[in-house]
Amino acid sequence: MELRETTALLDGILREQGIGKYTYTLSESEKQELNIENGGFKLLRTVFGKAGSLKVFTDGRMGSASGNDLTEAGLRKLAGAAKTAAESASEDPCHDIAPDQGKEVFRQGEYKPDLDRFIERIREFLETAAKEYPEVRIMSGIGSFDRWHRIMRNTNGTEFETFAGQYGFSIEICASDGEKTTGLDYTGVSMKDLDTPFMELGDLRRHLEDIRKSISPETLQGKFTGTVVMTPGCAGEFLSMLLSNYIGEGVVINGTSLWLDKVGEKVASEKLTVSLKPYDERIVIGERATANGFRSEDVTLIDRGVLKTHRLSLYGANKTGRPVVKNTGGDLVAEPGDKTLAEIIAGVDRGLLLGGFSGGEPGTNGEFSGVAKNSFLIENGEIRCAVTETMVNGNLEDVFRRIRAVSKELLCDGDTVMPYIAADGIVVSGK
C-alpha cells in the first residue's frame, strides 16, 4: 500500500472511531549502511523501515501511540491504543495542535543515492587516512545513506509531505605509536552530495591531526583558573547544555529555570549570537515541520548576548502563557567572531584547547565538572602538550558571560555551524 493510501485509510479509521481531533505522521524509510572496523569493510546493512505516530485528543485529553505496522490491522491497533491512552488521561486543554498551515511538499537532499560512488569516497578516505596519518587507527566507521518519505497531517487541515535523503559518515579513532595508545575520539558529517572528498569535510582532518598529537599526553599537577578554548564540537556540546538547562521546556514549565524572567535581558557576552536555522544552506536536512505541526522557522535564541526567547512547544506555551517557538529541531548556528583561532590561542596565558567534555549532566544551577577529553594545554600563547586526567569545572552561565573571543573559523558538519569559543575563569585541575 502506498503511503498516501495509508493516510486515507488511517483517516477513515479515526473517523470511524469517532475521533475528531488528531495529528499523525506516517513514514517509510530505507537505510544503506557500510560499517568499518579497524580500517576495513566489515558489515553491509540494509534496513527497510516504516513508522507511524499518532496523537489524539478527546474531550481535552491527549493520548499518543506509535508503531511500525501500517497494515489496516496495525492502523486499527494504533488508533485504538492512542484513543485508550487519551481516555485514560486527565483533561488538560494545553495539549493542542497547530492551526492550519496549509499543504506543502518538501524535497530535501538526495533521494536516489549513488552507492558505488559513496563506497569509493569511503575507500578514498580510508586510504588517505592510512597514508597521511599512519599512527591513527580508524577503529570503527559508519557510512550511511538514509532516505525517507513522510506525511504529517492534522485535523486543522495541515499536510506536510517530505521526500528527503542524506549521506552520513562518522568515525571513531585512536592513535598508537606501537606502545602507547590514545583515548577515543569521534567525529562525523552529513552530506547532500558526494562532490567533496570526506577528508576535507567538517573537521575530520583536524580530528586526525589532533589524535596523532595525543599519543604522549601529560598529567597536570595542581589546579589553576584559566581560559578554555572550546573546539566547535565542544562549543556545540556546551551550548546545547546551556539551552537545555536555561531555556528548555521542562525547566520553564516547572519554574526552575534561572532565566525564567530574563527574556529581553542580557544573559551572555555580546559576542554570542546563536540561532536555530533550518533553512541555512549549510544545514543538510533542516527541520521543515515542528513536532506540533507548525511550519518551522529560523529562530534566534540569543542575539549579541540578549535572550530572545525560551524554547517552548505549543504545549509549553499554552501551559505558561509564553510564546510558542516554531522550531523543535537542532539546527544550531552560532555566528563567527573577529579573530582567527591562531590569534585567540596567541592571547591565552594559561588554559586548555578543549576538544571534548565528559562530565556529569549539569543540574539547573548550571554547575558542571568533568574530564577534558582530546585536549591540549596552552601556555604563553602556544599549544604545549596533550593532557590526560585533567578536569574542568565551572558554571554554564558564567562560561558564556565570560566569552573572551569567538573565532572567524566555522565548523560546518551538515547539522550545525559552530565556531571556536574561548571563555575565561574556568577551573582546570590535574592530579
Partner: protein, 461 residues
C-alpha cells in the same frame, strides 16, 4: 507476545555461511507527570524481522519492518547478498567460528501488558503523595517507563529460542532550592525485570524510598562543593556498578580490545587490587536471577557467565562468536541487538564487582578525611580506561563519620590504576538495571557492585 511464523524459513539459509534469523518486537509504555501535568502518555510497539549472514569475516544484515513469512524470506536473501557483495570488496577471508552447541532455549518469562489507565493512576497516586507530603519542593516529576524485548531466534549452526526481557520503572525526581535560590535535584528509580504488577500494584510500597529521597535532597540543599583533588573515598554500591560497567566493562569488550583498548596488553596481568573480582553475569547469581537475565544471545549462543577479573587479575574479555574464535575462547553470549533493525554487537549483560568481607559501616569509619559517594547520574569511559562519573549524591566523611552533603560533582580516574587502590570491599551488592548503555545502539543492561574504599580524583571548586 510474538507467535513463531519464521521457523520454516531456516531451509532458505545459504550453504557455506553462518546465518541468524530473528523476529523481534520492542514495546514501550510511557507516562510522565511534571508537577502533576501529564506531559507524556504513549504506547509504542515496533516489530520486524532481520537476518545476519557471516561470509568468512564479512557480514551482511537486512531487516524489514514487517512480521510475515515473506519478510523473513526477503531479509535472508538480502542479508546473504549483502554479505557476498561486501566480501568481494573487503578482501577478508576468516574461517567461520566453530559451533558451540545447538538446541532450543525455552521461553523464560511472559510479557504482561498493563492498560494505560492503570499506569496513569499509579503515577497520580505517587505524585499526589509527594505533592501533599512535600509542598516545599520547587518541582517534582514522576515518570513510568516500561520496555520489553520479545525475540525469536533461529541460527544455522547455533541455538534457537524464544526469549523475552520485560522491565519497568518509576522514576521520581525532586527539585528544591538552596537558601541562595540555587536549584538542586535528586532522582531515584524503582522497579526492575517484569511488569507493573510485579512492583507497583501497591504504590505505598514506594513511599519509604520517596521519603528517603526527600531527606537526601534536604541534605543536598545545605550541601557544599567537594574539594577538588585526589581523595580517599567510599564508593557506594551504585557507584561500584557504574565502575564495573563504564570503567572496566567497556575496555574488555573484545571489539574495543581489537581497537586498541588498555585491556589488550593486560590480559593475565594484575590490573586491580586482589580484593577486586568482576563478572559479567548471564542470568543467575547466588541462586537468584540477576536484574536483566540473558539466556540466549542474538547469534544463538547460549549465555554463560563471563569472568573478567579474578583476584585483581584480568582473566578474560566479552566476545561474540568471531572474536571468541580469534582469542581462542568459548563465547559466552554477549552478542546482543536492541531492536529488530539492529545487528548484534558485543554488549554487557549484568556486570558486577563481587562483594568482599567488610561492612559498609567499617568502610566509612575507616576514613579520616574523604567522601562517601552514594549515587551517580551518568558515566563514560575511554579506551585507556580513563573514566568519568557524575556524582549526584554524596557526603563528606570526617573522622569516620558522615558530614555535610555534596552538591553535584564528577569523579575521574584511570580504571586499572584506580582499582589498585581498592583496599576495603563491603559484603553486599547493590544492583541497578534501569538505564541504557549506548554503543551504536542502545541496550538495557544491569550493573552492580559493593561499597569500596579507594582513591579517586574528584572535581569541585
Amino acid at each position: 507476545m510474538l507467535q513463531d511464523i519464521i521457523g520454516a524459513k531456516k531451509d532458505l539459509f545459504a550453504e557455506g555461511v553462518q546465518t541468524v534469523l530473528r523476529a523481534h518486537e520492542n514495546r514501550t509504555r510511557q507516562v510522565a507527570l511534571l508537577k502533576g501535568n501529564l506531559i507524556r502518555n504513549n504506547r509504542s510497539e515496533a516489530a520486524g524481522i532481520s537476518a545476519r549472514v557471516n561470509n568468512r569475516g564479512t557480514f551482511g544484515f537486512a531487516s524489514i519492518a514487517e512480521y510475515t513469512p515473506e519478510a523473513a524470506e526477503k531479509v535472508i536473501r538480502a542479508a546473504t547478498e549483502n554479505a557476498l557483495s561486501l566480501g568481494r570488496h573487503s578482501g577478508r577471508n576468516i574461517a567461520l567460528p566453530p559451533s558451540v552447541g545447538t538446541g532450543t532455549v525455552a521461553l523464560n518469562a511472559e510479557i504482561v501488558d498493563t492498560d494505560q489507565k492503570t499506569i496513569i493512576d499509579v503515577c497520580r497516586t505517587v505524585d499526589n503523595y509527594i505533592e501533599k507530603k512535600y509542598p516545599d519542593l520547587t518541582s517534582r516529576t514522576v515518570i513510568y517507563t516500561e520496555d520489553s524485548q520479545d525475540r525469536i531466534i533461529y541460527s544455522s549452526d547455533a541455538c534457537s529460542g524464544h526469549l523475552v526481557t520485560p522491565r519497568c520503572y518509576i522514576y521520581v525526581m525532586m527539585s528544591a532550592e538552596t537558601k541562595d535560590g540555587v536549584p538542586v535535584e535528586l532522582f531515584k528509580a524503582f522497579g526492575g525485570f517484569g511488569g507493573l504488577k510485579d512492583y507497583f500494584t501497591d504504590p505505598e510500597s514506594l513511599y519509604p524510598g520517596i521519603d528517603e529521597l526527600y531527606r537526601k535532597l534536604m541534605d543536598k540543599k545545605e550541601g557544599v562543593y567537594a574539594e577538588t583533588g585526589y581523595r580517599t573515598v567510599v564508593l557506594g554500591g551504585m557507584m561500584g556498578g557504574m565502575l564495573a560497567h563504564e570503567a572496566v566493562g567497556h575496555t574488555v569488550e573484545a571489539d574495543l580490545v581489537r581497537g586498541g583498548s588498555v585491556a589488550g596488553p593486560n590480559l593475565n596481568r594484575q590490573v586491580a587490587s586482589e580484593l577486586v573480582n568482576l563478572v559479567d553475569f548471564a542470568h543467575t547469581w547466588q541462586g537468584g536471577t540477576v536484574p536483566l537475565p540473558v539466556y540466549l544471545d542474538d547469534e544463538g549462543t547460549k549465555a554463560e557467565d563471563a569472568p573478567l577479573i579474578r583476584n585483581g587479575i584480568l582473566v578474560g574479555y566479552m566476545n561474540d562468536r568471531e572474536s571468541a574464535a580469534e582469542y581462542g575462547v568459548r563465547p559466552a553470549g554477549n552478542a546482543r541487538a536492541w531492536a529488530f533493525s539492529d545487528e548484534p554487537i558485543i554488549r554487557m549483560r549484568n556486570t558486577c564487582i563481587l562483594p568482599g568481607k567488610n561492612t559498609v559501616e567499617e568502610l566509612i569509619a575507616s576514613v579520616d578525611d574523604g567522601y562517601y559517594l552514594v549515587n551517580s547520574g551518568n558515566g563514560q569511559a575511554d579506551l585507556t580506561g580513563e573514566f568519568m562519573f557524575g556524582v549526584t549524591c554524596g557526603y563528606e566523611i570526617k573522622n569516620g563519620k558522615l558530614g555535610r552533603a555534596l552538591l553535584d560533582t564528577t569523579v575521574t580516574g584511570v580504571a586499572f590504576d584506580m582499582l589498585k587502590t581498592v583496599d576495603m570491599v563491603s559484603n553486599e551488592v547493590e544492583w541497578s538495571s534501569s538505564g541504557f548503555c549506548g554503543k551504536k545502539q542502545r541496550m538495557a543492561v544491569g550493573m552492580g557492585g559493593p561499597h569500596m574504599r579507594c582513591k579517586i580524583m574528584i572535581g569541585g571548586r
